[in-house]
């Protein structure tokens, strides 16, 4: 269990230090009882903290360095993963990973962003900022799944598409746009899970599916809170206010009708217990995959279209109808 705590988890960090100090002492029954009681206090403090997380605190949890993503899920939830590489056009993007594996014995395609664990991995993965070839690789792999009628499971976790010269030169906007259009018509079941950061177009570019889910403490936003703060408040330190205003939490998105379900996480966030996180994810994916696979192809595609078609209806008013 990773012990790294976030800035708002200070009370937990203090208790953890106490446990660490006690662990240095000779082992006695009294010491064990003391440690046990501290552990219970941590659990209860954590429960209190996580019951009332602010949107900004959720952003921090969603970005936690130990938060499990596609790599952990491949390891724990799937068997026989074979990664495939490259967009057959330009390069292999390391910020998006794809390949096939079995999910409870059923062949599926897995696609998702990878942020990388340690510093070396983070650099290799470009911190999860995908370039155009990442989106093109994803679509190529999804076409493969479509051809053989294999379901697609998408894991979304990216700050944004990579904002660099070469991204623009090679048409990152075009790559994302084509994915939005073509994923809408992919004739095979598609489940999307936002596992960490759903960063704007960079996230949406692989996030069209029959069901879109968010893990409890993940976020999904049109702009990072820091960017929003810099833009409207002209002050990047107003990020907590921006996070609040942007309504980027899983319950917010469920309320807007953008996502279908929230996948619960362990108290304290997915990073505190990878095994339990995977188990909770497994249950939801298994149920929804069966549900979506049971639909005939035409119905599934029509429902997928209507799902996105209806997004935003609650945000507009038709004056003609209101008047008449």
């Amino acid at each position: 269990m990773p012990a790294d705590t976030l800035e708002f988890e200070e009370p937990i960090a203090v208790l953890l230090k106490e446990i660490e100090a006690l662990s240095m002492l000779p082992q006695t029954d009294a010491r064990e009882r003391e440690i046990e009681s501290l552990r219970r206090r941590i659990a209860s403090v954590r429960e209190d903290l996580y019951r009332t997380l602010t949107p900004w605190q959720r952003v921090l949890v969603a970005r936690h360095p130990s938060r499990p993503g596609i790599e952990i899920f491949i390891e724990r939830l799937f068997t026989g993963f074979t990664e495939i590489h490259g967009d057959r056009r330009f390069a292999d993007d390391h910020a998006i990973m794809t390949g096939f594996a079995e999910f409870h014995g059923q062949p599926v395609l897995i696609v998702g962003h990878v942020k990388g664990g340690d510093t070396k991995q983070k650099i290799f993965r470009n911190f999860g900022y995908a370039r155009p070839e990442g989106y093109r690789k994803a679509l190529r792999a999804m076409r493969l799944a479509e051809k053989f009628r294999r379901p697609i499971l998408v894991f979304v976790d990216t700050p944004a598409a990579y904002p660099g010269i070469e991204s623009e030169e090679r048409g990152v906007a075009e790559a994302i746009a084509v994915n939005l259009r073509d994923m809408m018509l992919l004739d095979t079941p598609v489940l999307v899970v936002v596992t960490g950061e759903g960063g704007s177009g960079g996230a949406l570019g692989i996030a069209i599916g029959d069901r879109v889910l968010m893990q409890e403490y993940s976020i999904y936003s049109v702009i990072p809170p820091e960017g929003c703060a810099a833009l409207v408040w002209r002050d990047a330190s107003k990020k907590a206010e921006a996070a609040e205003a942007l309504k980027l939490t899983a319950p917010d998105l469920l309320g807007f009708g953008i996502i279908d379900e929230i996948i619960p996480e362990p108290v304290g966030g997915a990073h505190t217990d990878h095994a339990l996180t995977t188990q909770l994810l497994d249950g939801v994916l298994t149920r929804l995959l069966a549900e979506v696979s049971a639909l005939d192809n035409a119905t599934r595609l029509e429902q997928r279209y209507q799902k996105f078609r209806s997004m935003g209806r609650l945000g507009l008013e038709f004056l003609d109808e209101a008047a008449g």
């Binding site: 623009e168 746009a177 073509d182 205003a245 996105f308 935003g312 003609d320």
Partner: protein
């Protein structure tokens, strides 16, 4: 569906005069620094008669230039945002909406009309940059989606004149989802084998570029328009270096293979009509537009790109 029947004729509004052209008799051209008589400028579709600098024009002016006799039937003019996030920063979003409505006459950042383009029945959506930077929220998303659905029903082409800073932040992820919604409708238009032309004007950026602006059967840009995904400042901060001259301009995108052609505004209608005929669109009368300028050659891309 009731809204298919509800149509309007164009509203005469305060926004009908060209925006971004300073008031007064004379205007200094940012392209050649020469003083131009305002009347000459508007008679020339707001293109500098001396250096062909394209001044920014508003959405109703766009429609007037493209539709025959400047006439069209407007659709869904009354859709208005309800501020689903109750968004407030230094000002409330509601007050920004009201200011945009007062300044532009329209209720949001796009005008959709149907009419004849060189005698071809066509649906055109023109984005209004003067309304919160042309940003795309739920109203823009819904109006453009309805425009595409209307074209599918009526079996006619769709033209979208893009002019936008991207998704509307004040509507959060709901605005992001409009990218998916419009792209889905375009997928159906594509399957119906109907033409869609994206006209890219200054500026076309962010979520608009990463959805309908890059999904055309043709991408036609005006000269020197800024077209890109990420903002130049964001890119500069990321790579910690200055961007090359001409980066994210039409000529740069042409060179990189992302757009099909660059067309002078004064030729735009003729080029579009020609393309629509190639794409099998039906005319209800004889062609009426004649090309006035020689076919322009693409300018070489700016140095450093």
């Amino acid at each position: 569906m009731a809204w298919f029947k509800k149509t309007r004729t164009p509203r005469p509004t305060a926004s009908d005069k060209p925006s971004r052209v300073p008031e007064g008799l004379w205007v200094k051209c940012p392209g050649c620094s020469q003083a131009i008589y305002n009347k000459d400028l508007s008679a020339n579709q707001n293109v500098c008669p001396k250096c062909a600098h394209h001044f920014r024009i508003n959405a109703s002016e766009r429609l007037r230039l493209l539709f025959d006799d400047g006439e069209w039937t407007e659709h869904d003019p009354d859709l208005v945002s309800t501020d689903p996030l109750r968004f407030t920063d230094t000002k409330s979003y509601i007050s920004r909406l009201k200011a945009g409505q007062a300044a532009n006459g329209g209720k949001d950042a796009v005008i959709v009309g149907s009419g004849l383009l060189d005698n071809i029945p066509t649906v055109i959506a023109a984005q209004e940059y003067g309304f919160i930077g042309g940003s795309m929220g739920v109203v823009v998303g819904e109006k453009i989606t309805r425009a595409i659905e209307r074209a599918i029903v009526e079996r006619c082409p769709v033209i979208i004149v893009c002019c936008s800073g991207g998704a509307r932040m004040m509507e959060g992820a709901l605005s992001l989802m409009q990218m998916a919604k419009i792209s889905g409708a375009l997928a159906r238009l594509d399957r119906a084998r109907l033409p869609y032309i994206a006209v890219l004007t200054d500026p076309t950026t962010g979520g608009v570029t990463a959805s309908f602006a890059m999904l055309g059967d043709l991408h036609i840009a005006e000269p020197k328009a800024q077209i890109g995904f990420a903002g130049p400042r964001v890119i500069e901060q990321t790579i910690r270096q200055k961007l090359p001259e001409g980066f994210q301009r039409s000529e740069f995108l042409l060179e990189k293979g992302m757009i099909d052609l660059i067309v002078d505004r004064r030729e735009m209608k003729a080029v579009i009509a020609n393309a629509l005929v190639f794409m099998g669109a039906t005319r209800v009368g004889p062609p009426i537009v004649v090309r006035s300028l020689p076919v322009s050659q693409p300018e070489p891309a700016a140095q450093g790109s």
